[in-house]
């Protein structure tokens, strides 16, 4: 019952915020809705018993979204999007126009249908195998990370380092 309530709330938060990300015209609002959506996903993780993943999701994305917002503000300027009323046909930098939304809707529809086509076969698979009590995943994940998945763990650390250095190099202002 409790889990069901949490699931419904999280699912609604996720889906509604995701749709709002798509439809809202202000990039900052989009970012906030994205944050909502991601926190909703964290809630979904929690309903799946993935406590560590859920908290990591919140941990990473709250900071990450703030950064995204910072960039959005710095690169587009906040004021324009508040003072100017947006019409759907206008070509403001943040937004697409009707045309792009139409294309996006079409493509989304196609992909939705594709996915439904795929998901329709899953009826036989959706059996809850692990219906036991909630147990902590932290220790197990720790063991998995340093035993079974140690190579990918190390590679991901190299990836992060590379991304860090690469980002620093790319973003460094160059003297022309």
């Amino acid at each position: 019952m409790f889990l069901n309530t949490l699931f419904v709330m999280s699912a609604l938060l996720t889906v509604v915020c995701a749709v709002l990300v798509l439809t809202t015209k202000n990039i900052m609002h989009s970012c906030v809705f994205l944050l909502g959506s991601l926190i909703g996903i964290a809630g979904l993780y929690a309903t799946l018993g993935a406590d560590f993943v859920a908290v990591t999701q919140v941990m990473v994305y709250v900071g990450g979204v703030v950064i995204l917002m910072l960039f959005a503000v710095m690169l587009t300027g906040g004021k324009d999007f508040i003072s100017k009323a947006q019409n759907l046909m206008g070509l403001a930098p943040t937004m697409g126009n009707t045309w792009t939304y139409a294309v996006a809707g079409l493509v989304g529809l196609v992909f939705l249908l594709t996915n439904i086509q795929l998901l329709s076969r899953l009826g036989t698979m959706s059996k809850l195998k692990n219906d036991g009590a909630f147990e902590s995943t932290v220790n197990k994940i720790g063991h998995l990370l340093v035993k079974d998945h140690v190579l990918s763990f190390e590679i991901s650390s190299v990836l992060l380092l590379g991304a860090l250095v690469g980002a620093a190099i790319i973003a460094r202002p160059r003297k022309q």
């Binding site: 792009t100 294309v103 493509v107 196609v110 992909f111 594709t114 086509q117 795929l118």
Partner: protein, 720 residues
Amino acid sequence: MEYSIGNIAPIFLCPFFAFVINAFFGKKLPRQGDWLAVLAIFISFIFSLRIFLDFAGSTFATDYYIHKVFNWFDLSAGGQTFKVDMGIYIDNMGAIMLLMVTGVATLIHLFSTWYMHDDPRYGRFFVYVSLFTSAMLGLVLSDNLLSVFIFWELMGFCSYSLIGFYYEKEKAGDASLKAFMTTRVGDVFFLLGIVAIWQLVGSVNFVDIYAAIAEGKFVGQQVLGISLATFAGFCVFMGTIGKSAQFPLQVWLPDAMMGPTPCSALIHAATMVAAGVYLSLRTYPLMVAGELTQFIALIGAITAFGAATIALVQTDLKAVLAFSTISQLGYMVMGVGVGSYNAAFMHLITHAVFKACLFLSAGSIIHSVHEQEMPKLGGLRKKLPYTFIAMMCCTLAIAGVPFFAGFVSKDRILGDALFWGVFAGQSKIWAIVPILGFAGAFLTAFYMFRMMFLTFFGKPRDHHIYDHCHEEHISFNSNVPLLILTVFTLGFWYCGTLTGQSFGKVFGSKTEWFKILVEAPRVERFVGRTREPFSAVDTRVKAELPKAVYEHQTGYVGPAAGDEHGIHKAHLIGAIASIFIAFGGIFLAFLMYIKGSVKPLADTFSGWTTALKNRYYFDDFYVGVVIQKGMIPFNRFLAWFDMGVYDRFAIDGWAKVNRVAFRASRWFDDVVVDAIGVDGTGVAVNLFNLVLRIVQSGKIQFYFVVLILTLASYIWTINL
């Protein structure tokens, strides 16, 4: 004693590493890294001393040699073999040479730390000197003409840099250029000789050349109508002429005195110029095979006498020494020519010692009084007592006074020359060689003592300079090197007797080591000898090799060893004549410059004196005739040929042909290629473009849509 590469390579590598380190970090090192250079050459000296003691000290057989080879590069392909080897070759002569070079170089390095210490480019001097020393040692260690040539050129470069060391002076720059260009003439011939030998022997290794000579490969081989051996020997000897400043390429050496005095001592007296003689000694069998001995003897004699005459009128301290160097080198070359292999090499060694000492003494004087014009000096004996002792001993040695080294070696050369020219039954015209040799010896004694008297005796002629001169004190780096060298100007170090003749033995017969160790290469024993790999330790067991026998040998190692009587007679005459000539020259100098009872003969031979002062007009001849009248008109002719004939007919005519061809091709280009090929392609591309432009929009979202739709269609396809 087994030698591996680790025992030998440091001789060459120590100075080389000192050069590398000093060149890059010298300025950061304390004292600009001079201690490094000195230390390096001293280490080389220690290693050389070890080798020398092994070779001379009854450890090896007399005909033992170390020869280690590694493959430098191998371009063999198909049936062709093209392997170039590098290696180390040390025989008795090489061991003695190594000891001489490292020993003299060590002392000169030490002296340089005193002589050069106020110089603004103090560190750089040691950089050059280290490089030079390593190149010289590399040359001595080389087992083939190619690496000899490499080190030869490296020394040429060092010589160039050191002559032009004071490049602020225009004369120094000119002198360095002159030295470089003049020796280059000889080097070109030398390279030609190497190529000639290569194409016959397939190798330029000394051992292979000796073996080839022994096998008679050179017999009957001709190039350009002359014998190949003659051609190759001549070309190699031209290298000697250039490097050892023989007639007619002697002009560079006097000018080379523009360099710092220690470098003059090291390069232009003791080692580099001796390298030319060393080379001709190494290739002596080739010279014999090419029947060049008479030519060589004549060149040597002319050089020895001519340079001695020029030295008579020089007033510059270093110029006298420079001409005396040329003259002494002439004696060595003459010794090679007359077959006095042993004595020529001995003279090389003794000359290196006393000439280095002389130059260092001159350096000491110059550094003390800051003047090198002899007429302004005089009476320095009291101010510079140690320098005086050193210089006096060396002068006695070079003048050929008995008991000194110069007498031993020069007398043997002259005795051999006398036998060769007079008693050996050749055409009488070759008597000119000993005559010029003895005349040169007389002049040598005269001009050397003239120099001594003018410098050290009499009253000081310029009191300002005299008073400025400081009293000399014993110091490890100013006059101790001189005194050490002075010790070795005595004759008994080199032979068993004080006089060099069979009489006057003092230390018994066992010290006649030089004669036993050094002999002309007997080419036949090199036939079929296999090479040792570089890393291998010598496998020949000590016991198998005959020991060097140090007992009194009456047998003479010289030309035509059969004619004992003639040789003995010639040497006896030669020795007596030498003694008289030497003392005669000294006495004449004494009369002229101390007593003043005989006037200098300049007025009597005024025309000749003028010629002498102009150095026989060689420089003028080279500049005025060879270059002005010969080279420049020739260049003009070439330029005319280039512009007038080649340009006009060949190039312009070809251009005309091209123009016609061009018209034809333009038509083809315009009509066929352009209209059909290029424009047609353009139209085709344009058409294709119309389609592609829609797809290739550069808009990433469009690509993304296509990607997604493709993915969706793929999923649909595999699912349905």
